[in-house]
Protein backbone atom coordinates (compact mmCIF):
# COMPACT_ATOMS: atom_id res chain seq x y z
CA UNK A 1 0.00 0.00 0.00
CA UNK A 2 2.78 2.45 0.86
CA UNK A 3 4.81 3.55 -2.11
CA UNK A 4 7.56 5.08 0.01
CA UNK A 5 10.05 3.14 2.05
CA UNK A 6 9.10 2.57 5.67
CA UNK A 7 10.45 5.26 7.97
CA UNK A 8 13.13 3.25 9.72
CA UNK A 9 15.04 5.34 12.23
CA UNK A 10 17.75 6.59 12.25
CA UNK A 11 17.17 7.16 8.52
CA UNK A 12 17.14 10.86 7.60
CA UNK A 13 14.26 12.16 5.51
CA UNK A 14 14.01 15.15 3.36
CA UNK A 15 11.17 17.60 4.14
CA UNK A 16 9.57 16.66 0.89
CA UNK A 17 9.60 13.04 1.86
CA UNK A 18 8.12 13.81 5.25
CA UNK A 19 5.34 16.00 3.94
CA UNK A 20 4.47 13.52 1.23
CA UNK A 21 4.38 10.77 3.83
CA UNK A 22 2.08 12.73 6.13
CA UNK A 23 -0.11 13.72 3.22
CA UNK A 24 -0.47 10.12 2.14
CA UNK A 25 -1.12 9.10 5.71
CA UNK A 26 -3.97 11.59 5.85
CA UNK A 27 -5.28 10.67 2.45
CA UNK A 28 -5.36 6.99 3.14
CA UNK A 29 -7.48 7.44 6.24
CA UNK A 30 -10.98 6.74 4.94
CA UNK A 31 -12.61 8.71 7.74
CA UNK A 32 -10.69 11.85 6.76
CA UNK A 33 -11.65 11.55 3.09
CA UNK A 34 -15.35 12.26 3.50
CA UNK A 35 -15.77 14.65 6.38
CA UNK A 36 -18.56 17.01 7.15
CA UNK A 37 -17.54 19.95 9.33
CA UNK A 38 -19.31 22.93 10.75
CA UNK A 39 -17.77 26.31 11.39
CA UNK A 40 -17.59 30.00 10.66
CA UNK A 41 -15.92 31.42 7.59
CA UNK A 42 -13.14 33.93 7.98
CA UNK A 43 -10.46 35.31 5.71
CA UNK A 44 -12.47 34.38 2.63
CA UNK A 45 -10.63 35.15 -0.59
CA UNK A 46 -11.61 34.35 -4.14
CA UNK A 47 -8.54 34.51 -6.32
CA UNK A 48 -8.56 35.63 -9.96
CA UNK A 49 -7.55 32.06 -10.79
CA UNK A 50 -11.02 31.01 -9.63
CA UNK A 51 -9.87 29.16 -6.52
CA UNK A 52 -11.34 30.06 -3.14
CA UNK A 53 -9.28 30.15 0.06
CA UNK A 54 -10.67 30.66 3.51
CA UNK A 55 -10.52 29.50 7.10
CA UNK A 56 -13.15 27.60 8.97
CA UNK A 57 -13.13 28.11 12.69
CA UNK A 58 -15.08 27.63 15.83
CA UNK A 59 -14.46 28.90 19.35
CA UNK A 60 -11.33 26.88 19.86
CA UNK A 61 -9.72 25.90 16.57
CA UNK A 62 -9.39 26.60 12.90
CA UNK A 63 -8.47 24.88 9.65
CA UNK A 64 -7.29 26.28 6.33
CA UNK A 65 -9.71 25.49 3.49
CA UNK A 66 -9.47 25.47 -0.25
CA UNK A 67 -12.20 25.17 -2.87
CA UNK A 68 -10.81 24.58 -6.33
CA UNK A 69 -11.93 26.57 -9.36
CA UNK A 70 -14.11 23.89 -10.99
CA UNK A 71 -16.06 23.37 -7.82
CA UNK A 72 -16.13 27.06 -6.90
CA UNK A 73 -17.78 27.85 -10.25
CA UNK A 74 -20.55 25.39 -9.47
CA UNK A 75 -21.26 26.76 -6.02
CA UNK A 76 -24.70 28.25 -5.60
CA UNK A 77 -23.66 29.84 -2.34
CA UNK A 78 -21.23 32.72 -2.20
CA UNK A 79 -19.40 32.42 1.16
CA UNK A 80 -18.69 35.48 3.17
CA UNK A 81 -16.74 36.05 6.36
CA UNK A 82 -18.83 35.41 9.45
CA UNK A 83 -21.16 32.97 7.73
CA UNK A 84 -21.92 29.79 9.62
CA UNK A 85 -21.46 26.93 7.17
CA UNK A 86 -21.26 23.22 6.80
CA UNK A 87 -18.60 21.93 4.44
CA UNK A 88 -18.03 18.51 3.00
CA UNK A 89 -14.58 17.53 1.83
CA UNK A 90 -11.40 15.67 2.60
CA UNK A 91 -8.41 16.38 4.79
CA UNK A 92 -5.09 16.73 3.02
CA UNK A 93 -1.75 18.46 3.26
CA UNK A 94 -0.27 21.24 1.17
CA UNK A 95 3.21 19.87 0.80
CA UNK A 96 5.11 23.00 -0.17
CA UNK A 97 4.03 24.75 3.02
CA UNK A 98 3.52 21.77 5.19
CA UNK A 99 0.07 23.09 5.78
CA UNK A 100 -2.71 20.79 6.79
CA UNK A 101 -5.89 21.78 5.00
CA UNK A 102 -9.45 20.94 4.18
CA UNK A 103 -10.18 20.37 0.48
CA UNK A 104 -13.81 21.41 0.25
CA UNK A 105 -16.19 19.78 -2.26
CA UNK A 106 -19.43 21.41 -1.21
CA UNK A 107 -20.14 24.28 1.11
CA UNK A 108 -23.56 25.34 2.36
CA UNK A 109 -24.75 28.02 4.69
CA UNK A 110 -26.36 26.87 7.90
CA UNK A 111 -29.87 28.06 7.51
CA UNK A 112 -29.94 31.39 5.80
CA UNK A 113 -30.15 33.46 8.89
CA UNK A 114 -27.08 35.50 8.13
CA UNK A 115 -28.17 36.23 4.55
CA UNK A 116 -31.62 37.26 5.63
CA UNK A 117 -30.20 39.46 8.34
CA UNK A 118 -27.96 41.21 5.79
CA UNK A 119 -30.84 41.53 3.36
CA UNK A 120 -33.12 43.02 6.00
CA UNK A 121 -30.45 45.41 7.26
CA UNK A 122 -29.58 46.70 3.77
CA UNK A 123 -33.24 46.94 2.80
CA UNK A 124 -34.04 49.00 5.89
CA UNK A 125 -31.05 51.26 5.31
CA UNK A 126 -31.81 51.93 1.63
CA UNK A 127 -35.47 52.43 2.41
CA UNK A 128 -34.55 55.01 5.05
CA UNK A 129 -32.41 56.77 2.45
CA UNK A 130 -35.42 56.98 0.17
CA UNK A 131 -34.18 54.63 -2.58
CA UNK A 132 -37.51 52.79 -2.67
CA UNK A 133 -39.64 55.94 -2.51
CA UNK A 134 -42.60 55.40 -4.86
CA UNK A 135 -42.62 59.12 -5.64
CA UNK A 136 -39.18 58.73 -7.21
CA UNK A 137 -40.22 55.87 -9.48
CA UNK A 138 -40.62 56.80 -13.12
CA UNK A 139 -43.20 55.33 -15.50
CA UNK A 140 -41.97 53.25 -18.42
CA UNK A 141 -42.00 54.81 -21.88
CA UNK A 142 -45.16 54.27 -23.93
CA UNK A 143 -43.26 52.89 -26.91
CA UNK A 144 -39.62 52.07 -26.13
CA UNK A 145 -37.48 51.39 -29.20
CA UNK A 146 -33.99 51.27 -27.70
CA UNK A 147 -33.87 48.70 -24.94
CA UNK A 148 -30.70 48.12 -22.93
CA UNK A 149 -30.42 44.79 -21.14
CA UNK A 150 -27.98 43.98 -18.36
CA UNK A 151 -27.84 40.19 -18.02
CA UNK A 152 -25.81 37.12 -18.82
CA UNK A 153 -25.24 36.61 -22.54
CA UNK A 154 -25.45 32.84 -22.09
CA UNK A 155 -28.54 32.66 -19.91
CA UNK A 156 -31.97 31.41 -20.90
CA UNK A 157 -33.34 34.70 -19.52
CA UNK A 158 -31.75 36.65 -22.38
CA UNK A 159 -33.14 34.26 -25.01
CA UNK A 160 -36.60 34.50 -23.42
CA UNK A 161 -36.46 38.28 -23.49
CA UNK A 162 -35.14 38.45 -27.06
CA UNK A 163 -37.85 36.05 -28.26
CA UNK A 164 -40.56 38.18 -26.71
CA UNK A 165 -39.11 41.40 -28.12
CA UNK A 166 -38.68 39.83 -31.58
CA UNK A 167 -42.29 38.72 -31.60
CA UNK A 168 -43.85 41.81 -30.03
CA UNK A 169 -41.64 44.69 -31.05
CA UNK A 170 -39.26 43.85 -33.90
CA UNK A 171 -38.83 47.58 -34.58
CA UNK A 172 -36.81 47.80 -31.36
CA UNK A 173 -33.07 47.52 -31.02
CA UNK A 174 -31.46 45.82 -28.06
CA UNK A 175 -28.21 46.90 -26.48
CA UNK A 176 -26.83 44.01 -24.44
CA UNK A 177 -24.43 44.62 -21.57
CA UNK A 178 -23.25 41.09 -20.86
CA UNK A 179 -22.27 40.24 -17.31
CA UNK A 180 -22.09 37.18 -15.11
CA UNK A 181 -25.20 37.16 -12.95
CA UNK A 182 -23.95 34.86 -10.24
CA UNK A 183 -20.66 34.18 -8.54
CA UNK A 184 -17.85 36.49 -7.65
CA UNK A 185 -17.95 38.46 -10.93
CA UNK A 186 -21.67 39.14 -10.87
CA UNK A 187 -21.76 42.28 -8.74
CA UNK A 188 -18.85 44.06 -10.43
CA UNK A 189 -20.19 43.01 -13.85
CA UNK A 190 -23.71 44.25 -13.22
CA UNK A 191 -22.44 47.48 -11.68
CA UNK A 192 -20.07 48.07 -14.60
CA UNK A 193 -22.92 47.52 -17.09
CA UNK A 194 -25.15 49.93 -15.22
CA UNK A 195 -22.36 52.48 -15.03
CA UNK A 196 -21.82 52.33 -18.80
CA UNK A 197 -25.52 52.83 -19.23
CA UNK A 198 -25.38 55.79 -16.86
CA UNK A 199 -22.90 57.38 -19.26
CA UNK A 200 -25.08 56.61 -22.30
CA UNK A 201 -28.27 57.70 -20.55
CA UNK A 202 -26.69 61.01 -19.58
CA UNK A 203 -25.40 61.52 -23.11
CA UNK A 204 -26.93 62.78 -26.34
CA UNK A 205 -30.50 61.68 -27.02
CA UNK A 206 -29.64 59.58 -30.10
CA UNK A 207 -27.41 57.33 -28.01
CA UNK A 208 -29.70 57.19 -25.03
CA UNK A 209 -31.63 53.98 -24.41
CA UNK A 210 -35.37 54.42 -23.80
CA UNK A 211 -35.43 51.87 -21.00
CA UNK A 212 -33.06 49.56 -19.12
CA UNK A 213 -33.77 45.98 -18.07
CA UNK A 214 -31.73 44.35 -15.31
CA UNK A 215 -32.54 40.67 -15.39
CA UNK A 216 -31.68 37.17 -14.36
CA UNK A 217 -33.53 33.88 -14.63
CA UNK A 218 -34.77 31.86 -11.70
CA UNK A 219 -32.43 30.24 -9.21
CA UNK A 220 -31.79 29.71 -5.56
CA UNK A 221 -31.66 32.56 -3.11
CA UNK A 222 -27.85 32.48 -3.40
CA UNK A 223 -28.02 32.57 -7.21
CA UNK A 224 -29.96 35.80 -7.04
CA UNK A 225 -27.73 37.24 -4.37
CA UNK A 226 -25.89 39.68 -6.62
CA UNK A 227 -29.18 41.51 -7.06
CA UNK A 228 -29.27 42.10 -3.32
CA UNK A 229 -25.89 43.83 -3.35
CA UNK A 230 -25.74 47.40 -2.14
CA UNK A 231 -23.50 48.45 -5.04
CA UNK A 232 -26.06 47.16 -7.55
CA UNK A 233 -28.83 49.00 -5.70
CA UNK A 234 -26.87 52.24 -5.77
CA UNK A 235 -25.96 51.82 -9.45
CA UNK A 236 -29.66 51.44 -10.28
CA UNK A 237 -30.50 54.45 -8.13
CA UNK A 238 -27.81 56.52 -9.87
CA UNK A 239 -29.75 56.13 -13.13
CA UNK A 240 -32.49 58.27 -11.58
CA UNK A 241 -30.35 61.26 -12.50
CA UNK A 242 -31.08 60.39 -16.15
CA UNK A 243 -34.40 60.27 -18.00
CA UNK A 244 -34.07 56.51 -18.49
CA UNK A 245 -36.16 54.26 -16.21
CA UNK A 246 -35.03 50.83 -15.01
CA UNK A 247 -37.07 47.61 -14.97
CA UNK A 248 -35.94 44.70 -12.86
CA UNK A 249 -36.81 41.14 -13.78
CA UNK A 250 -35.01 38.85 -11.37
CA UNK A 251 -35.91 35.20 -10.74
CA UNK A 252 -39.50 34.12 -10.38
CA UNK A 253 -42.70 35.83 -9.27
CA UNK A 254 -42.01 34.97 -5.65
CA UNK A 255 -38.47 36.34 -5.57
CA UNK A 256 -37.98 39.86 -4.30
CA UNK A 257 -34.50 41.35 -4.43
CA UNK A 258 -33.17 44.73 -3.35
CA UNK A 259 -32.79 45.55 -7.06
CA UNK A 260 -36.54 45.01 -7.43
CA UNK A 261 -37.25 47.53 -4.68
CA UNK A 262 -34.94 50.17 -6.15
CA UNK A 263 -35.96 49.74 -9.80
CA UNK A 264 -38.62 52.03 -11.22
CA UNK A 265 -40.70 49.01 -12.14
CA UNK A 266 -40.37 45.45 -10.83
CA UNK A 267 -41.28 42.78 -13.35
CA UNK A 268 -41.93 39.34 -11.82
CA UNK A 269 -39.70 37.59 -14.41
CA UNK A 270 -37.29 38.52 -17.23
CA UNK A 271 -40.03 37.65 -19.77
CA UNK A 272 -42.46 39.95 -18.00
CA UNK A 273 -39.83 42.70 -18.10
CA UNK A 274 -39.53 42.24 -21.88
CA UNK A 275 -43.31 42.45 -22.20
CA UNK A 276 -43.43 45.65 -20.16
CA UNK A 277 -40.84 47.05 -22.52
CA UNK A 278 -42.92 46.20 -25.60
CA UNK A 279 -46.35 47.58 -24.66
CA UNK A 280 -47.25 48.17 -28.30
CA UNK A 281 -47.20 44.87 -30.15
CA UNK A 282 -46.70 44.23 -33.84
CA UNK A 283 -50.43 43.50 -34.15
CA UNK A 284 -51.23 46.82 -32.45
CA UNK A 285 -49.09 48.59 -35.02
CA UNK A 286 -50.65 46.72 -37.96
CA UNK A 287 -54.07 47.71 -36.65
CA UNK A 288 -52.96 51.30 -36.19
CA UNK A 289 -51.72 51.52 -39.78
CA UNK A 290 -54.91 49.86 -41.07
CA UNK A 291 -57.04 52.29 -39.06
CA UNK A 292 -55.15 55.30 -40.34
CA UNK A 293 -55.33 54.00 -43.90
CA UNK A 294 -59.09 53.47 -43.59
CA UNK A 295 -59.57 56.85 -41.97
CA UNK A 296 -57.65 58.42 -44.80
CA UNK A 297 -59.86 56.76 -47.41
CA UNK A 298 -63.06 57.70 -45.54
CA UNK A 299 -61.99 61.29 -45.12
CA UNK A 300 -61.05 61.56 -48.75
CA UNK A 301 -64.37 60.01 -49.81
CA UNK A 302 -66.33 62.40 -47.62
CA UNK A 303 -64.27 65.32 -48.90
CA UNK A 304 -65.12 64.18 -52.42
CA UNK A 305 -68.78 63.86 -51.49
CA UNK A 306 -68.70 67.34 -50.01
CA UNK A 307 -67.11 68.62 -53.23
CA UNK A 308 -69.89 67.05 -55.29
CA UNK A 309 -72.51 68.52 -53.04
CA UNK A 310 -71.03 71.98 -53.33
CA UNK A 311 -70.87 71.64 -57.08
CA UNK A 312 -74.54 70.65 -57.17
CA UNK A 313 -75.45 73.63 -55.02
CA UNK A 314 -73.48 75.92 -57.25
CA UNK A 315 -75.36 74.56 -60.27
CA UNK A 316 -78.68 75.29 -58.59
CA UNK A 317 -77.55 78.78 -57.61
CA UNK A 318 -76.33 79.42 -61.13
CA UNK A 319 -79.66 78.40 -62.60
CA UNK A 320 -81.46 80.65 -60.15
CA UNK A 321 -79.24 83.57 -60.98
CA UNK A 322 -79.55 83.19 -64.77
CA UNK A 323 -81.74 85.71 -66.81
CA UNK A 324 -83.75 82.73 -68.08
CA UNK A 325 -84.65 81.94 -64.57
CA UNK A 326 -85.70 85.49 -63.87
CA UNK A 327 -87.73 85.59 -67.00
CA UNK A 328 -89.55 82.46 -66.04
CA UNK A 329 -90.08 83.88 -62.62
CA UNK A 330 -91.51 87.09 -64.06
CA UNK A 331 -93.74 85.07 -66.32
CA UNK A 332 -94.97 83.06 -63.43
CA UNK A 333 -95.62 86.19 -61.45
CA UNK A 334 -97.53 87.69 -64.33
CA UNK A 335 -99.64 84.57 -64.72
CA UNK A 336 -100.43 84.66 -61.08
CA UNK A 337 -101.48 88.32 -61.23
CA UNK A 338 -103.64 87.61 -64.22
CA UNK A 339 -105.29 84.75 -62.46
CA UNK A 340 -105.93 86.89 -59.47
CA UNK A 341 -107.32 89.62 -61.69
CA UNK A 342 -109.70 87.29 -63.42
CA UNK A 343 -110.76 85.92 -60.14
CA UNK A 344 -111.37 89.43 -58.75
CA UNK A 345 -113.45 91.21 -61.47
CA UNK A 346 -116.48 88.89 -61.61
CA UNK A 347 -116.58 88.91 -57.90
CA UNK A 348 -116.71 92.67 -57.70
CA UNK A 349 -119.40 92.71 -60.42
CA UNK A 350 -121.62 90.36 -58.52
CA UNK A 351 -120.96 92.35 -55.41
CA UNK A 352 -122.06 95.53 -57.22
CA UNK A 353 -125.11 93.75 -58.54
CA UNK A 354 -126.14 92.76 -55.09
CA UNK A 355 -125.68 96.25 -53.81
CA UNK A 356 -127.77 97.65 -56.64
CA UNK A 357 -130.67 95.31 -55.91
CA UNK A 358 -130.56 96.39 -52.28
CA UNK A 359 -130.59 100.05 -53.26
CA UNK A 360 -133.59 99.51 -55.55
CA UNK A 361 -135.53 97.86 -52.75
CA UNK A 362 -134.82 100.76 -50.42
CA UNK A 363 -135.80 103.15 -53.16
CA UNK A 364 -139.01 101.20 -53.70
CA UNK A 365 -139.85 101.44 -50.00
CA UNK A 366 -139.58 105.21 -49.99
CA UNK A 367 -141.44 105.72 -53.34
CA UNK A 368 -144.73 107.66 -53.16
CA UNK A 369 -146.07 105.20 -55.66
CA UNK A 370 -146.28 102.75 -52.76
CA UNK A 371 -148.63 105.12 -50.95
CA UNK A 372 -150.81 105.38 -54.09
CA UNK A 373 -151.24 101.61 -53.88
CA UNK A 374 -152.93 102.11 -50.58
CA UNK A 375 -155.51 104.60 -52.14
CA UNK A 376 -153.82 107.98 -51.72
CA UNK A 377 -153.48 110.43 -54.64
CA UNK A 378 -150.99 113.13 -55.59
CA UNK A 379 -152.40 116.51 -56.73
CA UNK A 380 -150.24 118.73 -58.86
CA UNK A 381 -150.58 122.00 -60.68
CA UNK A 382 -150.11 121.93 -64.47
CA UNK A 383 -146.58 123.20 -63.88
CA UNK A 384 -145.91 120.04 -61.86
CA UNK A 385 -145.92 121.64 -58.40
CA UNK A 386 -147.37 119.27 -55.84
CA UNK A 387 -150.26 120.78 -53.85
CA UNK A 388 -149.62 120.22 -50.14
CA UNK A 389 -151.72 123.08 -48.56
CA UNK A 390 -155.01 124.95 -49.25
CA UNK A 391 -153.35 128.27 -49.91
CA UNK A 392 -151.84 126.88 -53.01
CA UNK A 393 -155.18 126.62 -54.87
CA UNK A 394 -157.62 129.05 -56.30
CA UNK A 395 -160.98 128.53 -58.07
CA UNK A 396 -160.97 127.08 -61.57
CA UNK A 397 -157.35 125.91 -61.23
CA UNK A 398 -156.65 122.93 -63.50
CA UNK A 399 -155.07 120.06 -61.60
CA UNK A 400 -153.47 116.69 -62.51
CA UNK A 401 -154.26 113.91 -60.11
CA UNK A 402 -152.30 110.75 -59.91
CA UNK A 403 -153.69 107.54 -58.55
CA UNK A 404 -152.40 103.95 -58.46
CA UNK A 405 -152.87 103.01 -62.09
CA UNK A 406 -152.58 106.42 -63.84
CA UNK A 407 -153.49 110.14 -64.00
CA UNK A 408 -156.52 112.22 -64.77
CA UNK A 409 -157.30 115.96 -65.03
CA UNK A 410 -159.57 117.85 -62.70
CA UNK A 411 -160.51 121.46 -61.80
CA UNK A 412 -161.08 123.26 -58.47
CA UNK A 413 -164.57 124.78 -57.78
Amino acid sequence: MFTLPLPLAPETWSITELNRYVRQALETDIRLQDVRVRGEISGFKAYPSGHWYFTLKDGGAQIACVLWKQRAARQRYQPRDGDQVEAVGRVTLYEQRGQYQFDVAVIEPIGQGALFADFARLKAQLEAEGLFNPARKRPLPADPRRIAIVTSSSGAALQDMLNILKRRNPLASVLLLPTPVQGEEAVPGIVSGLERLLTLASGPIDERPDVIIVARGGGSLEDLWAFNAERVARAIDALRRTPVPVVSGVGHETDFTIADFVADVRAPTPSAAAELCSPITLDDRRRQIDDLSLQLADLFASQLQMGRHRLEQARVSLRAASPFGQLALARARLREQEARLYATVPHQLSLARGRLAGDLATLEAFSPLGVLERGYAIVRRPDGHVITQTTEVSPDLPLRIRVRDGEFDAKTL
Binding site: P170, L171, S173, V174, L282, I289, L296, L299, Q303
Partner: protein
Amino acid sequence: MSPRTKRIRDEETSSAEVESLTYEAALTELEALVARLEAGAPLDEALQLYERGQALAAHCGRLLERAELRLRELTPGAEDTDNA
Protein backbone atom coordinates in the same frame (compact mmCIF):
# COMPACT_ATOMS: atom_id res chain seq x y z
CA MET B 1 -40.47 69.35 -70.43
CA SER B 2 -44.17 68.80 -70.82
CA PRO B 3 -46.44 69.13 -67.77
CA ARG B 4 -47.15 65.42 -67.96
CA THR B 5 -43.51 64.34 -67.70
CA LYS B 6 -42.99 66.80 -64.91
CA ARG B 7 -45.84 65.34 -62.92
CA ILE B 8 -44.53 61.82 -63.39
CA ARG B 9 -41.09 62.92 -62.22
CA ASP B 10 -42.61 64.48 -59.09
CA GLU B 11 -44.45 61.30 -58.25
CA GLU B 12 -41.30 59.27 -58.69
CA THR B 13 -39.24 61.46 -56.39
CA SER B 14 -41.97 61.55 -53.77
CA SER B 15 -42.35 57.77 -53.78
CA ALA B 16 -38.60 57.36 -53.49
CA GLU B 17 -38.71 59.77 -50.60
CA VAL B 18 -41.43 57.73 -48.83
CA GLU B 19 -39.27 54.60 -49.23
CA SER B 20 -36.42 56.27 -47.37
CA LEU B 21 -38.53 57.32 -44.37
CA THR B 22 -38.16 55.54 -41.04
CA TYR B 23 -41.24 53.88 -39.61
CA GLU B 24 -41.52 56.60 -37.00
CA ALA B 25 -41.24 59.43 -39.52
CA ALA B 26 -43.72 57.81 -41.91
CA LEU B 27 -46.23 57.15 -39.12
CA THR B 28 -45.93 60.69 -37.76
CA GLU B 29 -46.50 62.14 -41.23
CA LEU B 30 -49.43 59.80 -41.84
CA GLU B 31 -51.07 60.93 -38.61
CA ALA B 32 -50.49 64.60 -39.42
CA LEU B 33 -51.93 64.05 -42.86
CA VAL B 34 -55.11 62.44 -41.50
CA ALA B 35 -55.50 65.37 -39.10
CA ARG B 36 -55.10 67.77 -42.05
CA LEU B 37 -57.81 65.92 -43.99
CA GLU B 38 -60.01 65.92 -40.92
CA ALA B 39 -59.73 69.69 -40.64
CA GLY B 40 -61.02 69.88 -44.22
CA ALA B 41 -58.65 70.40 -47.11
CA PRO B 42 -59.42 71.77 -50.56
CA LEU B 43 -60.26 68.95 -52.95
CA ASP B 44 -57.09 69.02 -55.03
CA GLU B 45 -54.99 69.06 -51.85
CA ALA B 46 -57.17 66.30 -50.39
CA LEU B 47 -56.33 64.12 -53.39
CA GLN B 48 -52.61 64.70 -52.88
CA LEU B 49 -52.92 64.01 -49.16
CA TYR B 50 -54.85 60.83 -49.88
CA GLU B 51 -52.32 59.52 -52.38
CA ARG B 52 -49.34 60.32 -50.17
CA GLY B 53 -51.14 58.87 -47.16
CA GLN B 54 -51.74 55.59 -48.97
CA ALA B 55 -48.07 55.44 -49.93
CA LEU B 56 -47.03 56.14 -46.32
CA ALA B 57 -49.40 53.50 -44.94
CA ALA B 58 -48.10 50.91 -47.43
CA HIS B 59 -44.52 51.81 -46.52
CA CYS B 60 -45.26 51.45 -42.79
CA GLY B 61 -46.86 48.07 -43.44
CA ARG B 62 -43.83 46.86 -45.41
CA LEU B 63 -41.46 48.07 -42.67
CA LEU B 64 -43.48 46.18 -40.06
CA GLU B 65 -43.35 42.95 -42.04
CA ARG B 66 -39.64 43.30 -42.71
CA ALA B 67 -38.66 44.45 -39.21
CA GLU B 68 -36.10 42.38 -37.35
CA LEU B 69 -34.98 43.00 -33.80
CA ARG B 70 -31.47 44.42 -33.85
CA LEU B 71 -29.05 43.21 -31.21
CA ARG B 72 -25.84 44.99 -30.33
CA GLU B 73 -23.49 43.87 -27.62
CA LEU B 74 -21.49 46.30 -25.54
CA THR B 75 -18.80 44.06 -24.09
CA PRO B 76 -17.08 45.21 -20.90
CA GLY B 77 -13.66 45.59 -22.55
CA ALA B 78 -14.69 47.37 -25.70
CA GLU B 79 -14.81 51.03 -24.66
CA ASP B 80 -16.53 53.08 -27.30
CA THR B 81 -15.52 50.82 -30.16
CA ASP B 82 -19.19 50.71 -31.19
CA ASN B 83 -19.17 54.44 -31.77
CA ALA B 84 -16.02 54.34 -33.90
